[in-house]
Symmetry: C2
């Protein structure tokens, strides 16, 4: 069966990347056709940055690369799921996962606040990205 | 800390929903402000369907509801991660997860095919949705 990704108007699919060992969601990002091809071809995660409008190999600045254990696609082929071995931390803030804050209900109507969880920094982003 | 979701031009954030027991990604969908509020308020997953342009309680047609164990948001608050207890199957095709096909490399340049994995149907969609 052919892999026929269904790109959105911007030429992108959504990518969910999880830690192959724990199942934790590390990040949500986007891929264009070239990022998909390079990821499949090399076994390393490549993404497309909407803010920088550029193809991007995960870890090319930070060294925090992702080795792909498995790639899957969903029922309508507009999303992919990468199970990876993450070197260090996935988040640009230095946390293991971008999802380091829990949404907790504060009001019966659905009002909520954020609570930090698993939020230790594994690297110092100022040092790593030399900002 | 306030939860300040960063909605896209269509008023949506991306939602990744995983099985709280296994860590498997069940589905990727979208939420608008009202879907977020109802999910937080009720502890059941609500989404916004772009194709139907409608708010949607997961399982309202199929009975395959999702009880939220935890909700998190990511570093830029444009995505949420739901860990859920899934009743039956998450996918409209009757599979447990929408991600029932693996992307496998067939060519060195990144060409790929799809291989079915974990693709048993837990319900018959024709019967459940009465199409």
């Amino acid at each position: 069966m052919a892999f026929l990704p269904k790109f959105d108007a911007g030429g992108l699919v959504t990518c969910v990347t999880t830690d192959a060992a724990t199942g934790d969601v590390l990040m949500v990002a986007h891929m264009n056709d070239e990022a998909l091809r390079r990821t499949v071809a090399t076994g390393e995660a490549w993404y497309f940055s909407r803010s920088r409008n550029a193809l991007w190999r995960k870890g090319e600045s930070s060294g925090q690369t992702q080795r792909v254990i498995e790639m899957r696609t969903d029922c309508d082929q507009d999303a992919v799921w990468l199970r990876v071995e993450q070197t260090g931390a996935a988040c640009h803030t230095g946390r293991r996962s971008c999802f380091y804050r829990r949404v907790e209900r504060t009001e019966a109507d659905g009002g909520a606040r954020l609570v930090f969880v698993d939020a230790d920094r594994l690297f110092d982003p100022d040092a790593v990205y030399r900002k």
